[in-house]
């Protein structure tokens, strides 16, 4: 049982990075960005191809980051400069990435068995595979959380937050909302690519399909984090995303342990997210009086 939980925690930490990426677009920019489905697989593909070609695993993860930044930039250009709706821009990049990922890998999947990964040196220190992932995952997550906490406190960061909130007001303050959206998308997809690279190295393979449904997993983690762990200030929000991603993995591990067929996993996740997203509607059915009083009608 402890092994299952630890495994879920390790996977949750790696997916937390992806979750933070989804949070940046979905909550901060108010864009549902589907690019991430392609970017996650792209991060994995680049890292796997680079590692099997003899590149240092950390450098390979860095290359994955660069790929993610470019993917985000592409969606940003499609949306802001070519005026394609955000949802469709993301879908276009995602579909394009499927072919690109196949080209990067040259085949549908690459095995990393017996290759040096970012975790190898920790395993050489005597940590178990799972503990090595947890240790390194924690370091990555902490660095990223601190970086974002700083970044969203800067002038540019504030401008990005405001852009997702009220673009008209932001333009009136002399800020180019297009630029802010692009920066947000670039940042988000960069993180998702890192996440993909780390996941591929921890599971010892990269697969062109591994991004499928990842946006839903990301959203589920965001929502679980917000519901269970509160959203007092920005720092606690970031931490709640990490905890949300881990909780999601623990829930999945438990339902699988309880005998749910793995094939039903995506259905289960989709239903969970649908329920979580529709909670406000159910609440208003249950408490119609309270709501109407609040609105003063």
């Amino acid at each position: 049982m402890l092994q299952i939980i630890l495994g879920a925690v390790s996977l949750g930490l790696l997916w937390a990075i992806m979750t933070i990426g989804v949070y940046i677009t979905y909550r901060i920019l108010d864009i549902a960005d589907l690019t991430v489905e392609g970017t996650l697989a792209m991060g994995a593909a680049i890292a796997a191809q680079a590692i099997t070609s003899g590149v240092n695993p950390y450098a390979a993860t860095g290359l994955a980051l660069v790929g993610g930044l470019i993917a985000g930039f592409t969606t940003g250009i499609l949306h802001t400069q070519l005026k394609i709706p955000a949802l469709l821009s993301g879908i276009l990049t995602m579909i394009a990435l499927y072919s690109i990922n196949l080209r990067i890998m040259g085949k549908a999947n690459i095995s990393l068995l017996r290759m040096d990964t970012v975790y190898t040196w920790l395993q050489n220190l005597g940590l178990s595979d799972t503990n090595a992932v947890i240790a390194l995952g924690l370091v990555f997550v902490l660095v990223i959380v601190c970086f974002l906490y700083w970044f969203f406190g800067t002038e540019i960061g504030c401008a990005i937050r405001a852009t997702g909130n009220n673009p008209k007001m932001v333009r009136a303050q002399g800020i180019n909302t297009d630029t802010m959206k692009i920066i947000g998308l670039v940042l988000s997809n960069g993180l998702v690519a890192i996440s993909g690279a780390l996941i591929a190295q921890s599971q010892s393979f990269a697969d062109v399909q591994m991004g499928t449904g990842s946006i839903v997993i990301g959203l589920a983690s965001v929502i679980i984090g917000e519901v269970l762990f509160g959203k007092k200030n920005f720092f606690s929000r970031l931490i709640s995303l990490v905890l949300g991603a881990i909780t999601y993995r623990i829930i999945i591990a438990l339902v699988l342990k309880m005998g749910m067929p793995a094939n039903d996993l995506k259905l289960f996740t989709a239903i969970t997210v649908a329920i979580a997203l529709s909670l406000p509607v159910f609440r208003s059915y249950l408490n119609p009086v309270k709501i109407s009083l609040k609105e003063g009608r």
């Binding site: 970044f151 406190g153 800067t154 002038e155 540019i156 960061g157 504030c158 401008a159 937050r161 405001a162 909130n165 009220n166 008209k168 007001m169 932001v170 333009r171 009136a172 303050q173 002399g174 800020i175 180019n176 909302t177």
Partner: protein, 264 residues
């Protein structure tokens, strides 16, 4: 300070919904002018203001603010010259962000955004001092989300934001129309005070004839995409609602059909 030269704007050209909103409008504002802009629905008041602000491109003509030809400049590039308050109290502020964060965004209007901290300690002190005279108690709520404020409080804050960095031109787009009468008067008086203290060149749309007469040194009335009356100086001071209506009838050949303006 502002010169609008022969601008023309048509919406939905070539469709059944085609609407000529501005027909060759020309107007010049001198430094320190406080112009109230009045007219019925569809007269073109908001279109004129939005054209100046760059919300959409105009079809013909040019707009010069403080010697800068802004005709081709995008909305965010002109923002360094303009302070704006909108009709909808939700429009002028970012609801999910704190009061101080909103002020900090406005304080950097026209400046390039960098990776410096979005708000400094010194600024916070300044914001406190600036919020206090509003008498709304906002100075003690710097880290309250703006979404929790009332419409009047939000408009007062937006007004402060619009003037925090002195604009070359202040654009008020019926900024009190969505407020209850008492709050509307307060916000209007506050606007007047800000404008006088800063000697701000201002263009204010209002639906209320009395307010249009009471405030400002110049009154412009629009009708069907034209400027039909431009009253300033001593003449403006002597103006009454009755004689304004009469003059409107003479110029336009129509009754001023707007209950909102009459009853207010």
């Amino acid at each position: 300070m502002l010169s609008v030269n022969d601008i023309y704007k048509v919406f939905n050209p070539g469709t059944v919904n085609e609407k000529v909103a501005l027909r060759n409008v020309t107007v010049t504002l001198e430094e320190g002018d406080f112009v109230t802009l009045i007219g019925g629905n569809g007269a073109g008041k908001s279109t004129l203001l939005n054209s100046i602000a760059g919300v959409f491109p105009i079809d013909k003509g040019s707009i010069v603010i403080d010697g800068v030809d802004v005709t081709k400049l995008s909305e965010h590039k002109r923002a360094s010259l303009l302070g704006r308050v909108f009709q909808d109290p939700m429009m002028g502020t970012a609801a999910n962000m704190w009061i101080e964060e909103n002020l900090a965004l406005a304080f950097r209007r026209g400046k390039k955004r960098t990776l410096k901290w979005g708000i400094t300690h010194k600024e916070r002190m300044m914001y406190k001092e600036l919020l206090e005279p509003l008498g709304l108690g906002l100075e003690n709520r710097l880290t309250t989300k703006v979404g929790l404020l009332s419409g009047g409080q939000r408009q007062a804050l937006t007004l402060l934001m619009a003037t925090l960095k002195r604009p070359k031109l202040l654009l008020l787009d019926e900024h009190t129309a969505a407020l209850d009468p008492k709050t509307a008067q307060k916000v209007l008086e506050l606007s007047d005070q800000f404008i006088k203290e800063g000697n701000l060149t201002t263009l204010m749309i209002t639906h209320n004839m009395r307010d249009a007469i009471k405030y400002g040194n110049r009154l412009i009335m629009m009708h069907d995409g034209h400027i039909i009356l431009d009253i300033k100086g001593e003449e403006k001071k002597k103006l009454t609602v009755e004689n304004l209506l009469e003059r409107f009838g003479k110029v336009s050949g129509e009754e001023f059909a707007n209950d909102r303006a009459l009853l207010a």
